[in-house]
């Protein structure tokens, strides 16, 4: 299935939990936050959120800001 991550399409073998996908893409251990289809996903839900084909993810981390 195809998941859009930060605007780029990524292939993922279905079915996949968000927690597995985050590990798979190499984000484990990074200070990140996630929005799934424009909704914020608390860290505590990563292990139960099942990704579907066509889902959109925003994965963000700290950056400089004014």
């Amino acid at each position: 299935m195809l998941i859009e991550v930060n605007g780029e399409k990524k292939e993922l073998n279905a079915p996949h939990l968000l927690a597995d996908a985050i590990n798979h893409w190499g984000y484990a251990g990074a200070p990140i936050a996630v929005a799934h289809n424009d909704e914020f996903v608390p860290r505590t839900r990563y292990a139960t959120l099942q990704l579907q084909d066509g889902d959109r993810l925003e994965i963000v981390s700290p950056m400089q800001g004014g």
Partner: protein
Amino acid sequence: MTAPIWEVGGHSLTSRLLLGTARYPSLAVLQQAIHASGAGVVTVSLRRESAEGRAGSQFWNTIKELGVQVLPNTAGCKTVKEAVTTAEMAREVFETAWLKLEVIGDDYTLQPHPFLLVEAAEQLCRRGFEVFPYTTEDLVVAERLIQAGCKILMPWGAPIGSGQGLNNPYALRVLRARYPEITLIVDAGIGKPSHAIAAMELGYDGVLVNTAVARATDPVQMGRAFGLAVEAGRLAYQAGAMPVQDLAEPSTPVTGTPFWHSSPGRNP
């Protein structure tokens, strides 16, 4: 250790300067500039992170080492939904309920969108955020933000990054007079320490500066200059400035000076 001089959003601070962290030549210069300025609050942001990249971790570790309070922003958000989702993500990553709420209404001036700003502030205050709304100097928008639950307002001095200073001192003065109990911080448009002094002399509680320090020839020294300016401006406000008058009044007593004449006269 300097004694706290200011309570804001549940935190005791030792400086009335808030510093942005963007646009510095390097992380090392940023770190030195924060230290030299004495700022106890720095603004931070969130950006898309690539799986390979670890820029976010490096930046975040640098800030954590400084032990300053962070104020995450919602820079770039143009809708209420974007701002609220970004705020929730920021609260989790930065582990603070403080939020500099930006909802931009115009791409050229980066003017805050007053209606969406109020709507987003209402939602975020209900969700337990300490909202620092980046707003214009508009008095009625300020009233609506306060009704939404904001205890802090951050009116702009001028457009972000413009360095113009205080474009509407009258309106800023009216805001201060109208809301003596609200924490007011001038955010955006400050270009020089004299602008920060002017804001503090109006009775503002603090000043938020980024580009003026980051893009100075020597950001570290400019950071120090802003730290001193904010302190000088606050002291001047508390000391009470003399009234302005049209005509001169001799500062040296004239009675008894050589060649003194008691009647007003003209030059021969």
